[in-house]
């Protein structure tokens, strides 16, 4: 509960999470009308005996702060980002954000497989508020940076997952949002591109944009993030300066 010291209200917060818990029902696969109706009748209260992906999370991120989220697989990193992005509802607690948000997940990019890479670029940029004319102007630069020029008219489904992340990340450099929620953007990306990513992050280091980055890359976290949130099985182990949290996290995981 020592996090409360950090949540002294000052005017400049960008993300504020209070007593957040998120549970998922134990079985949630059968969606036929019959099942849905019987489930409603049999147990009125939903989520009664599910598991908790997040439990009692409290944090306040100041505008412009760069925060890493670390933790083993299944710790709740993605769930937390989705709750903050408004894609999952909190079961208990509150989430408040200030400013436009972008969510980029390395594992599942919000794009349409049936469209071409270029068409997806337009759609993806439009979702995050970039005007079509501006995308048109930047389209060559974006594909060049992603080194995907020859794939511009290929169906997105034919691109590898690393290539898709590259495209999304390249587009994201032109986004004007205030809060960036990034989930494992380094996964499936080769070392050459890792270097290119790092250059972009380097430029953002002193910007007033807020970053929340779920990552397994400790070196990157130490380089870019001033603060780190450590999650373990949905519980908040620590939220403090990066070096301090990572030292404890590394010690705990060996």
């Amino acid at each position: 509960m020592n996090q409360h010291s950090a949540s002294i209200s000052n005017g400049s917060w960008a993300i504020r999470v209070r007593d957040l818990s998120r549970s998922f029902p134990a079985q949630n696969s059968n969606h036929t009308l019959f099942r849905v109706l019987t489930r409603q009748v049999l147990n009125g209260q939903r989520n009664s005996n599910g598991f908790y992906a997040l439990k009692d999370i409290n944090l306040e991120v100041v505008k412009g702060e760069k925060v890493a989220i670390v933790g083993d697989n299944g710790a709740g990193k993605t769930t937390l980002l989705k709750v903050i992005g408004g894609l999952f509802r909190p079961t208990v607690g509150e989430v408040h954000t200030r400013g436009d948000m972008v969510l980029l997940r390395g594992a599942e990019i919000g794009m349409v497989d049936e469209l071409s890479a270029a068409e997806n670029l337009f759609l993806y940029s439009s979702i995050y508020g970039v005007h079509r004319e501006k995308v048109k102007k930047n389209v060559d630069e974006i594909f060049e940076w992603a080194e995907l020029k020859s794939f511009a008219h290929a169906r997105l489904a034919t691109l590898s997952s690393g290539m898709k992340t590259r495209l999304a990340f390249s587009a994201l450099r032109h986004f004007d949002a205030e809060i960036f929620l990034l989930d494992e953007v380094f996964s499936a990306v080769d070392t050459h591109f890792e270097q290119k990513y790092l250059e972009v992050f380097e430029q953002q280091k002193s910007s007033d944009r807020t970053f929340l980055i779920a990552t397994h890359d400790m070196k990157f976290a130490r380089m870019f993030c001033t603060k780190t949130l450590w999650l373990s099985r949905g519980k908040q182990m620590a939220f403090d300066s990066t070096d301090e949290v990572l030292d404890r996290y590394m010690a705990a995981s060996t």
Partner: protein, 254 residues
């Protein structure tokens, strides 16, 4: 500012829906004409000498009914799994999801306008003298647009939670062709339950409106138009509320 951003996104999404439709059916555009034409041929051959005797310009009469029914049936049933078929987008991108439904409905509206224009041309060729009333057809399109949008919002939202809604709705659409005055006249059902079913069916009004404009050459009275506009707007408000109410849960169930 945010309104402008979403207008741009809506524009982009509508383009996307067009491209997706083109890909899903190679002759998509042709089919949207061919399908009602095949039905028209069969119904015309079957009913020409019975119900057709009492109805003037029976072929055009049938055509208008079929075009409007087919548009309604196609657009709404395509919307059923819209959120699901784009689940990467629905589940991982932060934007108001009703824009997906709205853009799909807008793409379909273009088809209705084209098909109805063909109806007008066919009517002129078959010897009907057109009047200025034809210019009021866009009002009918607007009302049909609102109706399709409302039904699509409800269906696409329901499908997230109840997956067999598609089958149920398919059965309903098959019934709908019989409880809509497509190949018979409203006066055919003057007594009993059938009459009330017809009166409750909004397609009855929409089809009657366009027939009046094209075949009879004079608009239906002012009052029924206002009445239908009010009812469909009310339906739209309700379905929009329902959609927005369940929107935060979409990505949990997809």
């Amino acid at each position: 500012m945010p309104r402008k951003k979403y207008l741009n996104l809506l524009h982009q999404l509508t383009i996307t829906q067009f491209k997706l439709k083109d890909q899903s059916a190679f002759l998509g555009f042709i089919w949207s004409f061919l399908h009602p034409l095949i039905l028209l041929g069969i119904l015309f051959a079957m009913f020409r000498h019975q119900t057709g005797q009492t109805i003037e310009h029976y072929a055009v009469y049938l055509l208008i009914g079929l075009v409007q029914y087919t548009h309604f049936a196609n657009s709404t049933s395509r919307s059923v799994n819209l959120l699901y078929s784009m689940k990467h987008l629905t589940g991982n991108a932060i934007f108001p999801k009703e824009l997906l439904v709205l853009s799909a409905t807008m793409a379909e509206l273009v088809e209705l306008a084209l098909a109805m224009t063909v109806c007008v041309i066919v009517a002129a060729l078959s010897g009907i003298t057109l009047t200025w009333a034809v210019l009021l057809l866009p009002v009918v399109w607007l009302m049909q647009f609102i109706l399709v949008l409302s039904v699509s919002l409800i269906l696409s939202c329901l499908y997230v939670f109840v997956r067999d809604i598609g089958h149920i709705y398919g059965a309903f659409l098959r019934l709908l062709i019989f409880i809509t005055p497509i190949f018979y006249d409203k006066s055919f059902l003057q007594h009993g339950l059938g009459r009330y079913i017809l009166l409750l069916n909004p397609l009855t009004y929409l089809i009657t409106f366009s027939r009046a404009l094209i075949i009879e050459g004079e608009p239906v009275g002012f009052e029924p138009t206002i009445f239908l506009l009010l009812v469909s707007s009310l339906l739209l408000v309700c379905s929009f509320k329902l959609f927005k109410n369940y929107e935060p849960a979409f990505s949990e169930y997809l």
